[in-house]
């Protein structure tokens, strides 16, 4: 088996050879109903004792045909469906789709709408990373951080609810801008929340970062070096933990990100612990961006929130690709228009799906317990993997 070609090498199960005592490897069906697969992921494992000889992820249990469904909907009607892909980060999904359509239409988004969009994105990133921290910790047996992170996440969801009327499936962006303007006092409340967030992040770090059990379970687990990450097309915190400072917000800037100051946290060991550190650092960076947006919005309380978009959206025939830095990685929408009022084809580059491909390589040789840590470290959402 060659390690050079991602895609097929890891999927071909090695020929079954009896071990020294004439024993065979046990096949263990991990999922789709399993507490630690974050949904309905199924992984077929070959285990020698508890050591994983091969792993074959089996996806599709949550397949809803969303991409086909997109082709039957007019452009504005697609937005609520994008909410339901990565259902814990609906704002970034909305954003990526709207960017793709705006690109093909050539619409300019007003500055104020850009700042609100970026603020919503960063709030969504914080809420998604908090959810990741909660579930990754619970996979490794630490139950309590779940409740602490959910308390903060709840505040963000309340703010979302106040802005757009929903907590998870936000439907909070429109082609060319935003559906509604902010409610009075919303920016101040958001600012107040982000001011207090720093202390809360310190608290999570007290519980986990230096904890020896947490370190033993994560340091050196699921290493995927930078060149392998690139070969598999892995993006997001998993790639950055390998030391590659690739962040769509910097690499292919969109909206008002060039005007904002933030760092791209990178790790160096490319293991589960570094991915944890990168995500915690991203929480702090998102907080920084969000505070800058709040400042700008407080200074500019008035302004257009929607660009000039025709009532019936019928882009000229052509193609466009737009991507955003979603909490899971690079989320891209590839849009093909035939000139009709519906997309001819709308392909989604879902970071969870692309990242998950590297699971067989990342897990080989580890124990069954580590599989839980590694699935947790991807931060996959099966709604996005299967679409």
């Amino acid at each position: 088996m060659s390690e050079g070609t991602p895609g097929t090498a890891a999927l071909v199960p090695p020929p079954e050879e009896p071990t020294l005592l004439g024993l065979h490897e046990m096949e263990l069906n991990f999922g789709p109903q399993h507490p630690a697969t974050h949904g309905v992921l199924r992984v077929v494992l070959k285990v020698d004792g508890e050591r994983i000889v091969s792993a074959r992820p089996d996806v599709g249990y949550l397949h809803r045909g969303t991409e086909k469904l997109f082709e039957t909907e007019t452009y504005p009607m697609v937005i609520p469906h994008t909410d339901r892909m990565d259902y814990v980060a609906a704002a970034t999904n909305n954003h990526a789709y709207c960017l793709a359509v705006e690109k093909i239409l050539g619409v300019e988004v007003p500055k104020r709408a850009q700042y609100i969009r970026v603020l919503l994105d960063e709030m969504q990133r914080v809420s998604s990373h908090l959810l990741w921290l909660a579930t990754a910790a619970i996979d490794l047996g630490a139950i309590t951080p779940f409740f602490y992170t959910f308390r903060e996440r709840e505040v963000i969801l309340d703010l979302f609810e106040e802005y757009c009327g929903a907590r998870l499936t936000l439907n909070c962006m429109r082609i060319g801008g935003l559906p509604v303007d902010l409610t009075p006092g919303w920016v101040e409340r958001t600012q107040a929340f982000f001011e207090t967030l720093e202390a809360k992040i310190d608290e999570y770090e007290d519980l986990l970062t230096e904890n020896r059990i947490w370190k033993e379970r994560t340091v050196g687990i699921g290493v995927l070096a930078a060149d392998r990450c690139v070969a598999w097309g892995v993006t997001g915190p998993v790639l950055r933990a390998a030391g590659v400072a690739w962040d769509v917000r910097r690499a292919l800037p969109y909206e008002c990100y060039p005007e904002l100051e933030f760092d791209i946290p990178v790790g160096k060991n490319a293991d589960t612990y570094d991915r944890y550190l990168v995500r915690v650092a991203e929480l702090r960076q998102s907080r920084r961006i969000a505070l800058q947006c709040c400042d700008w919005l407080a200074k500019n309380p008035e302004g257009e929130i929607r660009g000039k978009v025709p009532r019936v959206i019928k882009p000229a025939a052509g193609m466009a690709y737009a991507s955003v830095e979603a909490p899971k990685g690079e989320l891209g929408f590839f849009l093909v228009s035939s000139g009709a009022n519906k997309p001819y084809r709308l392909h989604v580059r879902a970071p969870s799906f692309v990242n998950l491909q590297s699971l067989p390589e990342m897990i080989r040789g580890h124990l069954v317990s580590d599989l839980v840590a590694v699935i947790g470290t991807y931060d996959i959402v099966l709604g996005e993997v299967d679409r």
């Binding site: 910790a137 630490a142 309590t144 059990i213 033993e216 069954v368 317990s369």
Partner: protein, 350 residues
């Protein structure tokens, strides 16, 4: 009193009364409250109220839980080994309940019989190899887990059972070595003698802190709780050895875990925290005896709280890491500790 009893009969009667008392305390009073306390403490730690619907403050939650479990359908999967499948929960629950036999839960109570006053020691059986008895029994409990894992005919249960059998050796050795220090200091394997030595001198936790740490960690592993609940490991093995159990069979595992927890706390209290004794307080007479029971209960409860607190704070080890910890860290540490204690005792010329 016209009723006359022969001496052996009277002793037997006393033993029965003590057994009933201890079991009533653990099974009827402590166990349900412990299940309630676990959930309340977890609630408090997690900024939520915890169960508060059944009875005042939710105190009858455990009763409701057990009733619910009893009324559920008793599912026995098709290809299980029925004999072992039935036996396994019993094997888990029984040793925990029998462990209390040798633990002195109070000083003594004076009872007048045949005109003579005699001090009845508050221990069910004053066995002169008390600690060996405890080690023998607690090691038995793992058979319940291994057999449950094997007989369920389920791959996850099997992994749970294998983990349990692999891990027990790694911590029991260190546990035995660290406990040996206590007996070298006390000069006896009898648990009442250990308590009396601590009463006369000082609590073992101070001179034998290293031994205490090793013993305490080992006892966490022994009770199969986070950070060492590897054979159960809900996130990895679904529910480990009891994946296939339901209804009252599961309730027995459930109660067994908590009975084990009480027993383990009682053993730590006895070995390292002076059992029923308080420094400088002499427990004599009827009230003294009762007060000593209360002291013992409070100390045990404090240790139980530590168990709960740790469970809701820490992540879980991997089973090979637990084995490494046992063999590479705790075994040398406890060995070193044993030699140090022995050398100190020899040097002080006792």
């Amino acid at each position: 009193m016209t009723l006359t009893l022969s001496e052996p009969l009277f002793n037997a009667l006393l033993a029965v009364v003590k057994i009933l008392f201890v079991w009533a305390m653990t099974l009827a009073a402590l166990l349900p409250n412990l299940i309630w306390a676990e959930r309340r403490v977890s609630g408090l730690i997690q900024d939520r109220p915890g169960p508060n619907r059944v009875g005042p403050l939710g105190l009858f939650q455990a009763v409701a839980d057990v009733l619910k479990l009893m009324m559920k359908e008793d599912v026995v999967p098709l290809y299980v080994d029925k004999v072992l499948f039935t036996l396994a929960p019993l094997i888990t629950l029984t040793p925990a309940l029998v462990t209390f036999a040798v633990i002195p839960f109070g000083s003594s109570i004076p009872i007048t019989w045949n005109g003579a006053v005699r001090d009845v020691p508050l221990v069910i059986a004053d066995v002169n190899v008390g600690i060996l008895y405890i080690f023998a029994l607690t090691s038995l409990a793992v058979y319940g887990i291994v057999l449950a894992g094997w007989s369920s005919n389920d791959k996850y249960s099997l992994l749970g059972g294998v983990r349990a059998s692999a891990q027990i050796i790694s911590y029991e050795l260190a546990m035995g070595f660290s406990a040996a220090g206590v007996f070298i200091a006390a000069g006896s394997l009898r648990l009442p003698a250990v308590v009396e030595w601590q009463h006369a001198h000082l609590w073992n936790v101070v001179p034998q802190f290293l031994g205490f740490v090793v013993f305490a960690v080992a006892i966490f592993a022994e009770t199969n709780r986070i950070p060492f609940d590897l054979s159960e490991a809900e996130a990895e093995l679904v529910a480990g050895y009891h994946t296939e159990y339901s209804s009252f069979r599961f309730a027995m595992f459930f109660m067994g875990e908590y009975a084990n927890l009480i027993a383990a706390s009682a053993v730590v209290t006895t070995l390292y925290f002076g059992g029923w004794s308080l420094p400088g307080v002499a427990f004599t007479g009827l009230w003294g005896g009762l007060a000593s029971i209360a002291v013992f209960a409070v100390k045990t409860a404090a240790f139980i709280f530590l168990f709960l607190w740790v469970r809701w704070t820490l992540p879980r080890f991997r089973y090979d890491q637990l084995m490494e910890l046992g063999w590479k860290v705790f075994l040398p540490l406890s060995f070193f500790h044993l030699i140090a204690v022995a050398a100190f005792v020899a040097a002080s010329g006792r």
